[in-house]
């Protein structure tokens, strides 16, 4: 079951500081509720993808088909 993540304004400020993101005063309150919603869902997905049966699953990435000639230049 989802465990609702309550993100405080202080937490938003800390995360912004850790990312060197100069967040204007007052924006913490705007970000906190939506960040809480999204992290709650992301943590739920973390729990699913951490199950042993998915241990061999590789992440999807940008599949590149490089121009070999260009790469060798």
């Amino acid at each position: 079951m989802n465990e609702r993540i309550e993100v405080s304004e202080a937490s938003v400020r800390t995360l912004a500081d850790l990312a060197s993101l100069p967040l204007e005063e007052g924006r913490e309150a705007l970000l906190a509720p939506q960040l809480g919603d999204w992290l709650t869902a992301a943590n739920e997905l973390n729990r699913k993808m951490s199950k042993p049966e998915y241990r061999t699953i590789m992440p999807a990435t940008v599949f590149t088909h490089p121009n070999v000639q260009e790469e060798n230049e």
Partner: protein, 475 residues
Amino acid sequence: MTTTGTNENLARLSLAEAARLIEEKQVSPVDLVEASLERIAAVDERLNSYITVYEDGARQVAKACETMIVAGHKLGPLHGIPVGLKDNIGLEGLRTTAGSKVLADWVPEEDATVAARLKGAGAIVIGKTNMHEFAWGGTSANPHYGFVRNPWNTDRFPAGSSGGSGAAVAARLCFGALGTDTGGSIRLPSAINGIVGIRPTIGRVSNHGVVPLAWSMDTVGPMARTVEDCAIMFGAIAGHDPKDAGSAAVPVADYTADLGRGVEGIRIGIVPGYFFDHLQPPVHDAVRGALGVLEKLGASVVDVEIGHIHGNISAQLTVESCEPSTYHQRWLRERPEDYGDDVRLLLEIGEMHLATHYIQAQRYRSLLRREFMEAFKDVDVFICPTLPFTATRVGEMSVMIENGVEEDMLAAIMQFTGVPSLTGLPSLAVPCGYDDEGLPVGMQIIGRPFDEATLFRVGAAFQGTSEYHVQAPAL
């Protein structure tokens, strides 16, 4: 060269009809461009679907196209056809804003590959269409270039992010347009504006020269009034591009070849417990009705379990949050005030996910794709609604789908479009009905990788029995 019909009537021709009439020298590209410009002048003040209109340039190219066709020289299947480009697609020497203040004065030094290919096929770029800022959102409520409005009811939104392309095509302000699609940005405005649009297989169409949103899910695709029109445009832009490292070297088909084959024997999958749950009733009824039509034409509809489908919205929001925030990292620090409120907030939030959230979301994509690929052993396509509701009022950031519950617009709008985005599968949006207020409903046909031809085949079979694609909004 003799042109028959008024400009109003010319603007209402389908792309395929217009192309045929040009080839037969019954219609001049000059008159098609004038017809489109006249429509833009008459109605776009109410729609705001274009950021820039190239009146002089389009007229010059049209004259050249006319001279060529009279001389018996046809550039390609789009010779002389006026089209719009979403304003995140670069054009050499012409301003390309991505709907932003940040890139308000950006002038690319070369055409995006898709723009060059359209021009090479003879298309005339008549203007750049309005969009959600940097394509990061689904409403096309653009704070810098004005909110785009829905031609079926200008109090309603056109969806997005390719909302300008959707509104312009539906309102007959061009014969087709290009959009870009990351989480649904071609298919959503196609459905909401009652037109056809395709999200191609990832890698099928070049992204070179297009302002990115989320690299691992971005695609360019055509939006047009009919499946045939969409297939013609798609054929002009599809194919490998050595300038795009994500481009796939897979042969391109003639996408119009199978349009008349029908759907006898086609197996259509639906996912019980997901595709027809949590919908506004008119959407449910219209898409179920379309399935019934296809069954009568000889297709079969089967239930398919996709056990991992739940969780896709979170994965989308995580990927579509982290990747744009990476691209915008420098601008967000140097000029945050130049972003609109909603996009700025999303970009800031994208800086606050953990790497493990992002990577688990990317692992989930592999899991979901594997399950769909297994399912394609038993079905040829899946069909579901494009989105669970019809057009909401302009400016609304929440939506009521059922039981009087207000839901966040961004998560709600991605309910069905996210599956192809995450899995890289192609998906065609086709109009299939209206709600009680006359607002369009769209269905989504999802197919195997690089099998866009089957999607066009199914969509064309449906349009052969319906008239949703020939209805035009009364503007």
